[in-house]
Symmetry: C2
Subunit: 349 residues, 2 copies
C-alpha cells in the first residue's frame, strides 16, 4: 500500500490490526484473571487508550505526569504512574491530578516517599504508593524483600499515603518468591499487599506463569515493531504500525536513501543490527541513519527500488517513533480513515 494521498514520511496504523492486538491481550489476561493496565507510552493517543479501556482494561499506565494530565483531560479516570516523583513542581501537579482521577504511583526510596507524603497530606489526599522492586531489570527499585517491606512500612505509616502493593518491570523468574517473602515480612503487621503490578510486551503471554501477579502493564503490544517481531512477541502479520517513506536517492546500484531518518525512525537499536525492516524489500538492510535519511543497502534484493518509489518500514522500537511525530494516520483495508494527534508526545515532565 502506498497511500498516494499521504506525504512521506508518515506513521500509519492499521486499525483492524490495532483492534485485534488490543483484544488478543485483553482476552488472554481475562482468561487468567490478571488485570490489564496498558502503558500508553507506545501510542500517546487518548483515543487508543479509550479503545483499551473499552476492551476491558482496569486503567492505564503513564510514565510522566504530563502524559497523565493529557489522558485525564481526555476523560481517562484511573491512572498509574510507576515513577519516582520528586520536587515541588511535580508534586503540586500530582496532587491536582489526584483530585480528578483515581491515581496511584510508585517509590523506591524513603526520600521519594517523604515528598509524596508531604504533598498528599497537605492536599488532604490519600494516594496509594506501590514499592518499585528490582527483580533483575537493574533500573530503579529496591533490591530485596527486606527493603521492600521496610519501605512498605514507611509508606503505611505516612499520613497522606497508603501502601498500594509492589511494582516491577520486567517480570522475571524472581517475581513470585520476592512477593511471597515480602508478604511474609508484612503479615505479622497486618499489612496486606493489595496489588502486584508487572509489565512488558515481550513476556506478556507468560504473565500467568507468575502466580503472584495481579496486574500487567504492556505498551508495545498495540502496535508491535521490528524488535518484537524478531523476538517472536509480535509476528509480522500482527504488526499494526509502519512508517511510509519515499526512496529519494539511488546514488549507486546498491545504495538507496529513504526520507525517514533518526528524526522519524529514532536511533534505537534494541540490540539489533540495522534500523528497521523494509516490508517491500525484506532483504534490504538499513545500515545507517542520519537525521533525515535512512541509508539502505539493497544489494541482497533481486529487484531494487526506483527513485520516488514508496516503501513501508517497521521501526526497531515503536515507542520513540510516536514520540517524534505529531500525528499518526489510521488506515483500514488500504484506505486512510483519519489522523490522530499524538497528544501526549514529548511530555518529559
Amino acid at each position: 500500500m502506498t497511500y498516494p494521498s499521504l506525504d512521506t514520511p508518515s506513521a500509519i496504523v492499521d486499525l483492524d490490526l490495532l483492534a485485534a492486538n488490543i483484544h488478543r491481550l485483553q482476552a488472554y489476561l481475562d482468561t487468567h484473571g490478571i488485570a490489564n493496565r496498558p502503558h500508553i507510552k507506545t501510542h500517546k493517543i487518548p483515543a487508543i487508550a479509550q479503545m483499551q479501556m473499552d476492551a476491558g482494561a482496569v486503567g492505564i499506565t503513564c510514565q510522566k505526569i504530563g502524559e497523565a494530565e493529557v489522558m485525564a483531560d481526555a476523560g481517562l479516570t484511573d491512572i498509574f504512574i510507576p515513577y519516582n516523583i520528586i520536587g515541588g513542581t511535580k508534586l503540586t501537579r500530582l496532587t491536582a491530578l489526584a483530585r480528578r482521577v483515581t491515581l496511584s504511583v510508585t517509590a523506591d526510596s524513603a526520600v521519594v516517599v517523604r515528598g509524596l507524603a508531604e504533598a498528599a497530606y497537605r492536599a488532604g489526599l490519600e494516594i496509594p504508593v506501590l514499592v518499585e522492586c528490582d527483580l533483575g531489570g537493574k533500573r530503579c527499585g529496591v533490591q530485596s524483600p527486606a527493603q521492600a517491606a521496610e519501605l512498605a512500612r514507611i509508606i503505611a505509616r505516612s499520613p497522606g499515603l497508603t501502601f498500594g502493593g509492589l511494582m516491577t518491570y520486567p517480570n522475571t523468574d524472581a517475581l513470585d518468591a520476592f512477593v511471597r517473602e515480602t508478604r511474609a515480612l508484612l503479615e505479622p503487621e497486618h499489612l496486606p499487599v493489595p496489588r502486584v503490578s508487572g509489565g512488558g510486551t515481550r513476556g506478556m503471554f507468560e504473565a500467568h506463569t507468575h502466580a503472584e501477579l495481579t496486574e500487567h502493564r504492556a505498551g508495545m503490544y498495540v502496535f508491535g515493531d521490528r524488535h518484537l517481531m524478531l523476538a517472536g512477541a509480535t509476528p509480522l502479520e500482527t504488526v499494526a504500525f509502519r512508517v511510509l517513506t519515499t526512496v529519494v536517492s539511488r546514488p549507486t546500484s546498491e545504495r538507496g536513501i529513504l526520507d525517514a531518518g533518526s528524526k522519524t525512525l529514532s536511533s534505537d537499536l534494541m540490540g539489533l543490527e540495522g534500523y528497521g525492516y523494509i516490508c517491500e524489500y525484506p532483504e534490504a538492510v538499513i545500515y545507517g541513519l542520519s537525521e533525515e535519511h535512512a541509508h539502505v543497502d539493497f544489494s541482497a534484493c533481486a529487484r531494487k527500488p526506483e527513485i520516488g518509489e514508496r516503501v513501508t518500514v517497521l521501526p526497531n522500537h515503536v515507542c520513540p517513533v510516536t514520540n517524534l511525530l505529531d500525528e499518526v494516520v489510521g488506515v483500514r483495508g488500504g484506505k486512510v480513515e483519519g489522523v490522530w494527534q499524538v497528544a501526549a508526545r514529548g511530555k518529559v515532565k
Copy 2:
C-alpha cells in the same frame, strides 16, 4: 548551577556561550571570505537563526520544507534546502515558499530535477538547483564529476530551473579536485559553477583549506555536545547546551538513575561508549537509557549523588535533543532569562 525555578528534565542554553560560538565561526569564515549559511537543524529556533543572520550569515540552511516554512514565517528571507524534494505535495509547498523567500535546493538525479522543473515552470519561477556530490560521505550525491556535469546540464536546460552550483557534506579532501574537474567539463559550454557549498561542524575551522569552497553550512557549532567535545571541535568550556536532570533513584551504592532517558537525550551514540557526559560527575558513565531513565554507573566517582540532587548532562548529539523537546531555556550567569519554543521541531516533511 541547579536552576531551582526549572523542573527537570529541561534543556538549558547558556546565552553568552551561544553568542560567542556564533561570532567565533562567523569571524573565521569572514576572515577567509567564505559565506556562512548555518544549518538550523541544531536549534530549530527562529530567534537563534536571526542571531546567526545578525552576525553576518548570508542565509540559512533547512533540511525539510516544514523547517523552512517555520523560518520564513519568522522573517528569515534566504533559505537553502539541500535535500531531494519529491512528490506533488512537497513541490506545491516548495513553489509557495519560493514566492516569498530567496530559495535554493539540491538534486542528485534527473528524476528529482524533472519534478522540480515541472513545478517551478508551472509556477512561473526560476529556482536555483545545486548538484549534490558524494565526496566520501556515502549518503546522497552523484558519484563523479562526469555525473555532476551531466546533471548540471540537465538542470541548466530545464525551464524553471537554473544551475546553482555544487553541494556536499561533509567536506573531504576530494572536494577541490572534484569541483575543478566538474568545472572543466562545464567550461566549454559556458556553464559556470556559482556556488560550492560544504558543511559540517567537526571540520568547520578547516573550511579555508578547501580552496574551491564558497560557502559553509555548520549546525552544531552553536551549541556543541559530547561527541564534538571528545572530537576536539567544541571544547567543554564552549559547550552552550546542557540537559538539567534530577537523580530520581540510587538503587545500589554504585547505580544512579536520572529522569532524562532516550526521550530527552536521544539514543544517538555517535560512535561513542555511553549516552552523555555528566558535568558534575565527569567519571560517571551513562551506560544505558530507557525512555524516561538514564542508567548511570557512579562507581568511579569519589563522591556519589543523593536522591533529589540535580546534575547537568551534555548529550552525545545535540540535534536530536532539540527535536524531542518543545522548549529550550535560555540562561545567563546562572539565571534563567527566558524560554524559546522549538518552533521547527518535528518537521519531518
